[in-house]
Symmetry: C2
Subunit: 200 residues, 2 copies
DNA sequence: GAGCGCATGTAAAGGGTTACATGATTCT
DNA sequence: AGAATCATGTAACCCTTTACATGCGCTC
């Protein structure tokens, strides 16, 4: 679980309210770490209870800003230093790829083209952001430079996936005529290996 | 939620027990879609109840193999065709990158080197698998070709991340001397923007 | 017959999403 | 005055993980 540390990390930049944090999670970390406001408010309560953050100020519309404590800052730093990184990356795109053999070739080609377009466009958008940061439009502080590094990872992953989708479409791995491919729209065949002997 | 469809997809290849599916989820889909056996058994019960799968056979040690039904096969295909792909990729590596500015430069360099090594090694392993498949060591059926395509995505993502980690380490974005970097082990400073007025 | 690996589950606790609810302030 | 937006939360449901529990079959 890293929402806890994500919140601490954002609060290390300065005080913020649950609403602020929800917005920043959505904008900055939306694709790598989605978080909805109910979870965020709940987690903030827990963090406050644990003394890792504390109420900084009360604002206009019951706004309540939190501030990270020394303990909290130590905890993020401990988390970052400790090093045990979870390397799983949950990606539906990749899960689906395992089941491409169940798709009609035409459908698959269309799907891969949509995927390619999506990742290429995302990479393009991120690259524009990166260039803006490189021009110093967002300042040159350490946070901005860290974000630039994160951005670079996003760019490279999206580019990799775009080029993968293109490669897959060109390779046409499930093309009709290839051995074992589902005959073009002909039979919605059972597809299973050992044919069932009898029902029940 | 795609565990449901993941199970249906695997069962489309042929009958399997919960135990088999847990093992295959771990081995084939472990990094992209982790799933533990309790969830798998629970989901199999639900799928059976919904008529998407049914008991195929009973084996030695209370083993219970399931088989996909026509309805189940239609459901996976519907899922694959429908197209609404969730493009979020939860990656701790990327989340951490946003907080690199909180790390000591030396620590960060060490971290990036560990990450680089990990992704490079993973890519290497996957590439070896891919070559084996290309030599036809696992057959040439549609499932194998689909897996080859998925494998290619894994290779490209891991290569992208390895090259990113190397780039980041060489760029040395949080190097001492750069404006605003945490002075080498000097002050465990508050780091926050607006300094708190008073305690409590 | 001891131990290992196969095989299936339950229980508890926590994480995450969606829907619902509400109040306060600003803008038009 | 009405609408939009800021802001915080509760409730219900589902997903996920970890720990616990148990029994069968094979191998040594």
């Amino acid at each position: 679980m890293s929402l806890r540390h994500g919140l601490l990390g954002l609060l290390a930049e300065g005080p913020a309210s649950g609403y602020d944090l929800a917005r920043r999670f959505q904008e900055a970390l939306g694709t790598v770490w989605p978080a909805q406001h109910p979870r965020i408010y709940a987690e903030l309560s827990r963090l406050a209870e644990a003394g890792l953050i504390e109420v900084d100020s009360h604002g206009p519309r019951r706004r309540k800003a939190y501030r990270i404590t020394g303990e909290g800052l130590a905890e993020v730093r401990r988390w970052l230093a400790e090093g045990e990184v979870d390397h799983t990356f949950r990606m539906e795109t990749l899960l689906r790829a395992y089941f491409f053999w169940l798709m009609e070739p035409a459908e698959l080609r269309a799907h891969l083209e949509r995927e390619r377009a999506f990742y290429a466009e995302t990479a393009r958008t991120l690259r524009a952001y990166a260039r803006a940061k490189d021009r110093g439009e967002w300042g040159t502080g350490p946070q901005v430079r860290a974000m630039r590094v994160a951005l670079e990872a996003g760019i490279r992953i999206n580019e990799a996936l775009a080029s993968w989708a293109e490669w897959a479409r060109e390779t046409d791995p499930m093309a009709p005529g290839s051995p074992g491919s589902p005959g073009a729209a002909a039979s919605p065949a059972p597809a299973a290996a050992p044919p069932p002997e009898a029902e029940g």
